[in-house]
Symmetry: C2
Subunit: 453 residues, 2 copies
Amino acid sequence: MALRGCLRVGPGLLRAAGPRGPPARGTCAGGRVSGGGEGPGSQPASLPRAGKGALSRLSPALALQPPSFGFLFDVDGVLVRGSQAVPAARLAFQRLADSSGRLRVPVVFLTNAGNCLRSAKARELSQALGLQVSPEQVILSHSPLRLFSQFHHKCMLVAGQGPVEENAQNLGFKHVVTIEALRKAYPLLDMVDQSRRPRELPPPTTGFPTIEGVILFGEPVRWETSLQLIIDVLLSNGNPGAELQDIPYPHLPVLACNMDLLWMAEAKMPRFGHGTFLLCLENIYKKVTGRELKYEALIGKPSTVTYRYAEYLVKEQAEKRGWKSPIQRLYAVGDNPMSDVYGANLYNNYLKSAQQNQVQAGLKRNPQAASEDHLELRKDCNSSVESCESILVCTGVYRHSTDVPSKREERATETVFHGHRDFCFDPSLVEASYIVQDVNDAVQLAFEKENWS
Amino acid sequence: MALRGCLRVGPGLLRAAGPRGPPARGTCAGGRVSGGGEGPGSQPASLPRAGKGALSRLSPALALQPPSFGFLFDVDGVLVRGSQAVPAARLAFQRLADSSGRLRVPVVFLTNAGNCLRSAKARELSQALGLQVSPEQVILSHSPLRLFSQFHHKCMLVAGQGPVEENAQNLGFKHVVTIEALRKAYPLLDMVDQSRRPRELPPPTTGFPTIEGVILFGEPVRWETSLQLIIDVLLSNGNPGAELQDIPYPHLPVLACNMDLLWMAEAKMPRFGHGTFLLCLENIYKKVTGRELKYEALIGKPSTVTYRYAEYLVKEQAEKRGWKSPIQRLYAVGDNPMSDVYGANLYNNYLKSAQQNQVQAGLKRNPQAASEDHLELRKDCNSSVESCESILVCTGVYRHSTDVPSKREERATETVFHGHRDFCFDPSLVEASYIVQDVNDAVQLAFEKENWS
């Protein structure tokens, strides 16, 4: 199966605008758990009505047939919190693995983390879950950048922390400049930290390459430095030592990975994610220039291209294991309504829309319909997946309320949109198909739905 | 002269909203220099018409009488750029000083810098200008905080860099917690920098005091740390280790000093100032909570309380020198239209309004008029100052254009508002009374207007 062939992506999708039509989630009514179950160890009082009904009609049986479904697991707030494993995670993976520790269904770890290598994340997960996770099972927020070959030969400024250069090179980028290298080349730009300012006027910078684009891998350290230098690069068209002339617009292409505003670590309140850094960058650019910062691509959850990539990896696993049943259903388990639930629902809509287009294409060749579908499904791809169901857990960012908020303040908080600026807020997209207490319950629920044990 | 008595400030002014009525700058028509004079060493082609007319009517004479005017000099972009003195600054101070190096007119250095002590800034200026500057001549952005005695006994979180604690203590704050101390007390909060995350789960924090307010002195280093911890404190009502309950609103009081978005150092493009940090904080708070971050006070230029304080210091100097003429006119020399010009014009409006109220008060006691005037002038203050004229120089942030912008993009850039969110954009407030090339020309202009040599 050729990845590039499967993932022909149009620019509209890569810029990751919100959904273009009403959501098509009629098959799986979602809802929030109401009443009880607030404590960390307690179970939710009830499953959504549709879910309960569906489950009551199924009688679990031994799984002799190959799986026709797969899991997409978020990591932070679902399997781990900071460096600590969530207790239910080990139980879930005992359920998922056979007696020899091999997974019985395809599993992809779909995280918006990006300041690390896939191999490092796989090692972390192996340790936390007590079974072998391979790098090929891990999708980091930047993983789909390998598809952006039009930038692979350009001189790209990269921001983030950890092995940013190595990540960029692994993804195919040949000519990369780090924030630190840019800072050293132009010592007069980074002036916030008084102790790092140059003591003497440095000689003019010569011979430094012109930057042609920016990749935002993840939240950097010293935000003031990255924010200043990225703004300088955008305002100067890639030559930040030059005198400010007319501000170029559209500005140089910006590719951003991971737009999560918040994530859940060990602290009791959520922590800033890369989305918070992007929010700062967008607002500074807008304040200084009066114009909107535009992204050439916004990838990672909830963007559809990331889920498309996850589907590809799920199928690849099934193929490698020799499981012949086509994968028909995906279960996306996450703790963040704006990232995991929104992304799964958006992808589910995409799948429904793609199926409809395929049917229409079979009846009549309609080029207009094809161009509206930004992520084209090639004939050589096995487009067997029919649905992507969202399962929200309560061990991370999301905590379900016990009752309807009574105070005005609480209602205001409930309706605050934590998604990215470029994703429209559609309340139905943050409604999970199911809400359960933890990842072990999520796996149990999916197994029951699949009549699997 | 009792400072506290002179500076009775109402909360409306301290929150530093924009002007409440149309500007009253009829006496001094302002205008931008048009044509020529773009190069760094060149002179502006012409002064505004009113200025030229006024000058032509005056014949300079030897100054035997004591001065009835004073100067407010901005520092960065006017007297220095980064660590380098602007060449015209020494010439200007040769003009201002007598043969023994003593100033012949009152001079206050009115800078929005805040990450230093007044004594350190005075030493820097002494070195750059070649004459003795005393700390009493320096107003840093936070200097008016000594008036906020209602917070002096509260537990205040302080953000900034340099001698933040010492500054707070010098200003009268008795109970101060730094960002670093808060970070150490709650090691799970600051999670952006992977290398600084705790390796093991720390014991719960006990005994740390509840924060009762926040002072933002100036731009800190590691913005992500300060942004996260300040947001945590506001969301938790001062107990950032606690579980997130209802978000308190109004939140704890926030006092912010220096709202300059940009400032001019040695680099060819402007650098981020504390206003850029505030912009990030405001937008993160808004995104996370859905509500506006409110300031209990926004001080430093262009807030009126800062100019009121400057007027007080100018008069104090004149008194100490034994100059008997009342100070009637202030000349505010700066490079930043949104800070120096806006502030001087706003203060000029305030002076006109105060004069009018005094006249009205003489005719009839009107309590309503007095309550509208947020900065009350006491009888024991010498309210002699009639005007505050803004003189814009071209050695810093502002560069005057040679002609009317022809392209649409340029026009858009010209109209971008770089002022703070809480100050309304009134185009007349950013129009300087005069535009000159540098600070030496500014002093010469004022001397000619005052018939002084």
